[in-house]
């Protein structure tokens, strides 16, 4: 009667699974008592903007802690992982699904599956290629570009009489946000005959060090520069550092975008950047709309988040609202 031990685990397997899998079928649990669940699949959490996004979302969700549980999953910048997560949420039959996709085509099929499973889906920041999502919440980069353009024109003398030499530092050349931030800026600036754009299409790839080197070269080539417009704050900050190292930061205005409190916000506060424009995260709005959906109300199909300027005048109020103290 000796039991050959190495065999045991193998035998356990088929037997362990089948009776267990019968369990849910005869569940006598009490449905309906469970608290609602709002699940959020974030494509990555290594970028500062995404971290801010998560923070705002969680802070807003805490206000509704007695209405629903919030579950946040990080897809580690991988499409396959994000699809897995959404599949998992569908299996858990969550009550509202929030997705901020890594890529539109990769996520579209699984988002459609969630909708087929009867789960309302709010798509955040980047949209998917289907009309069927419950709602989309995101910023408008072109509008933000326009705001920056308007600020630049004002700064250089006002509508119709603005004069000055401007450098534009691009984000990723082929990326849509960079294109839109560029076009919006041009909507204002191109109408001003007095404004001259130096350097064509300089790609800073969203990075501070690239902003630095572009500006370093520009400072050597042009004796006069009045304003630097970068597609995000780190590049604007990089440009500022280059100008400072060359001893020419005083006469130049540095304008960035994103206004993450710890980055752009702080840099404006210190007087390094002249202005930055909020690229609002959909975090707060997403939770508000999720709450509405849970209560059976409807939400608008598209919500465009407004931008606002953070300048020396408004930065204190901005930082206080974000809960970031001046260091």
């Amino acid at each position: 009667m000796r039991l050959s031990l190495p065999h045991v685990p193998g035998l356990l397997l088929p037997f362990a699974l089948l009776p267990l899998s019968l369990l849910p079928a005869c569940g006598k649990g009490s449905p309906g008592k469970r608290k609602s669940v709002v699940a959020f699949s974030q494509c990555t959490t290594t970028e500062p903007w995404r971290v801010l996004f998560n923070r705002e979302l969680k802070r807003e969700a805490e206000k509704h802690a007695d209405e629903f549980d919030l579950v946040v999953a990080d897809a580690e910048d991988r499409t396959d992982r994000q699809v897995e997560q959404v599949e998992n949420f569908i299996r858990q039959k969550v009550d509202v699904l929030l997705v901020s996709p890594k890529e539109s085509p990769g996520l579209t099929p699984v988002v459609e599956r969630a909708i087929d499973a009867g789960i309302p889906v709010l798509v955040l920041d980047r949209n998917v290629a289907t009309e069927r999502v419950t709602a989309f919440i995101g910023g408008d980069n072109r509008e933000i570009g326009r705001a920056a353009g308007g600020f630049a024109v004002d700064h250089l003398g006002g509508l119709g009489k603005a004069t000055g030499k401007v450098i534009e530092i691009w984000g990723g050349m082929a990326s849509t946000p960079a294109q839109e931030r560029h076009l919006g800026f041009r909507d204002y600036v191109a109408k001003e005959p007095g404004i001259e754009i130096l350097l064509d299409n300089q790609d800073g790839d969203w990075k501070q060090d690239r902003g630095y080197s572009i500006m370093e070269t520009a400072l050597k080539a042009f004796p006069r520069i009045d304003l630097v417009y970068a597609h995000n704050d780190p590049m604007a900050y990089g440009a500022y550092l280059a100008a400072k190292d060359a001893g020419r930061d005083k006469g130049i205005a540095f304008v960035g975008i994103d206004a993450i409190p710890e980055e752009g916000g702080l840099w404006v506060k210190k007087g390094w950047l002249t202005a930055t424009f909020v690229y609002a995260t959909p975090g707060v709005e997403a939770i508000r709309q999720a709450t509405k959906l849970l209560q059976g109300e409807t939400v608008p199909e598209t919500t465009t988040l407004p931008t606002r300027a953070v300048t020396r005048e408004t930065v204190d109020a901005f930082l206080a609202a974000a809960g970031v103290g001046s260091k």
């Binding site: 356990l12 946040v72 998992n88 890529e103």
Partner: protein
């Protein structure tokens, strides 16, 4: 024998009782685990003897009878009050299920796969843990155990699984292939581009070259096999003709669906062949050769993707990807994922290759002791060329499945995938020194990885902690395998 009857009865009883347990508690799962323990401790020692004495079917029925009785008794006794009655269909259904379970037992118990004890034990423990910890869905069902979730896991592991099977072959020869991730991504890019804009010349030329190269090679082999006495110039001439025909038709009329499906594996196999040649002929270290290949393939993928667009979406419709391509992301009966089936088929074929063919024996021989293998007449170079080519081919195939699943192709998609595949192979007990291992082990490794990810996800463990847990899993698996971490009760010889 009496013990067997008693144990089986008890097991059936607990089983039925477990099924009646309220879904919110862990009672049911605990009871089921007890069932298994009771059943195995009583039944297992007898299984083999019974099978030898009564044959396959009868020994199975012998197991089933007391189990069924126990299940019926358990169902009836676990009713909350005397007034409640059990439906006949329920009893019949359960009896049937229990019979189905028990009949193959004596046969299954003798399969050699169960000797890979500790790995299966780990998998079983993981599954039980998953079931116990699983959250409940809105209707109170166990999410982890739901058929849908199991199907999801099968789909989720399929990509890593196919790569890991190819990797197993390479690792068995004592090598390693770091290029599988980027080859997969290259495959997805090529597939997406061929399906969407058929006129793209660079992609079309690349895939034509790959397809013709393999056609050339295979035709030569085929002609040599069919016409063994033909003059030496015949096979290459014939092959060249076939090749030229294929090439011209491809370049003039575009790849079509079949061409799109075959191009990625052909390209992958070509990359694999190149690594294999560097390793076998150029005697480069596999790590270095395939590292170079990984970087080259990443660059080639980006070139083929074009500079203005990194992600190539696939849309279905006229003038776009044909609807038939959707089949690769389909779920049969809304449940069984096609990529999962592909994975299982690939694993089965590889297992057959390793265990039932001389080529399989050559692979083990080369990994075990290359010099000895060479001296005893094993074609070492060809064997290595073969395994690297197959590994590349499977990576290309995974690329096709990626393109179908995520309706996109992009050259950066496979970053880090080769490491997941290697981890699964190592957890599965294949030695990185070569010569020792199996596809079955890799299968378990892949499942361990997949289930662990699934369980952690269902527990909503944050992703940084998930990475730590996965790292620990690899360390633990390797320690266990190298015998450094002795679990006394597992080591006791039977």
């Amino acid at each position: 024998m009496r013990l067997l009857l008693l144990g089986s009865f008890l097991a059936g009883f607990l089983l039925a009782w477990g099924m009646e347990a309220p879904a919110g508690s862990h009672q049911g799962a605990v009871l089921s685990a007890l069932t298994v323990a009771a059943f195995i401790s009583c039944a297992h020692p007898l299984a083999r003897r019974l099978r030898e004495r009564f044959g396959r079917l009868h020994s199975g029925l012998l197991f089933a009878a007391p189990l069924v009785l126990g299940a019926v008794a358990g169902t009836i006794l676990s009713l909350p009050s005397a007034e409640d009655t059990v439906g006949v269909p329920v009893l019949l259904g359960r009896s049937f299920a229990v019979t189905l379970l028990a009949v193959p037992y004596p046969t299954v118990a003798r399969w050699s796969i169960w000797r890979r004890g500790h790995r299966l034990l780990a998998l079983a423990l993981l599954l039980v843990a998953g079931a116990l910890l699983s959250p409940r869905d809105r209707d109170g069902g166990n999410v982890f155990l739901s058929v849908g979730n199991q199907a999801d896991v099968l789909r989720q592991v399929s990509s890593n699984g196919i790569l890991a099977v190819g990797m197993t072959l390479v690792v068995l020869t004592g090598g390693i292939d770091l290029a599988v991730g980027t080859t997969m991504a290259l495959g997805s890019t090529v597939t997406a581009r061929l399906l969407m804009d058929r006129g793209t010349t660079s992609v079309l030329v690349a895939s034509s070259v790959a397809l013709s190269a393999w056609t050339f090679l295979l035709t030569i082999l085929l002609v040599r096999r069919l016409l063994p006495h033909a003059r030496p110039y015949v096979p290459p001439t014939l092959a060249g003709l076939v090749c030229a025909l294929l090439c011209s038709s491809l370049l003039s009329s575009g790849a079509g669906l079949l061409g799109a499906l075959l191009s990625a594996p052909a390209l992958g196999a070509l990359c694999g062949l190149a690594s294999g040649a560097l390793v076998a002929r150029g005697s480069l270290q596999p790590f270095i050769a395939t590292l170079a290949m990984m970087i080259t393939v990443l660059g080639a993928g980006r070139l083929l993707a074009g500079t203005d667009q990194m992600v190539h979406p696939i849309y279905f419709g006229p003038d776009q990807a044909p609807e038939a391509f959707r089949l690769l992301r389909e779920r049969i009966f809304d449940l069984v994922p096609v990529p999962g089936l592909v994975f299982l088929a690939v694993a089965a074929l590889a297992a057959l290759l390793l265990n039932r063919t001389s080529l399989g024996r050559h692979i083990f021989a080369v990994g075990g002791n290359e010099e000895a293998a060479r001296l005893s007449g094993v074609p070492v170079v060809q064997t290595k060329l073969f395994v690297y080519s197959i590994c590349g081919l499977l990576a290309g195939l995974t690329g096709v499945l990626y393109a179908a699943q995520y309706t996109q192709g992009k050259p950066d998609a496979g970053t880090g995938w080769e490491l997941d595949a290697i981890a699964a192979v190592v957890i599965g007990g294949t030695s990185l020194r070569g010569g020792v291992g199996s596809v079955g082990g890799t299968l378990i490794g892949v499942l361990l990885f997949g289930y662990l990810a699934n369980i952690l996800q269902l527990q909503n463990v944050d992703s940084s902690r998930q990475l730590v847990v996965k790292g620990l899993l690899i360390v633990g698996a390797v320690l266990l395998q190298e015998g450094k971490l002795r679990l006394g009760f597992l080591r006791r010889s039977p």
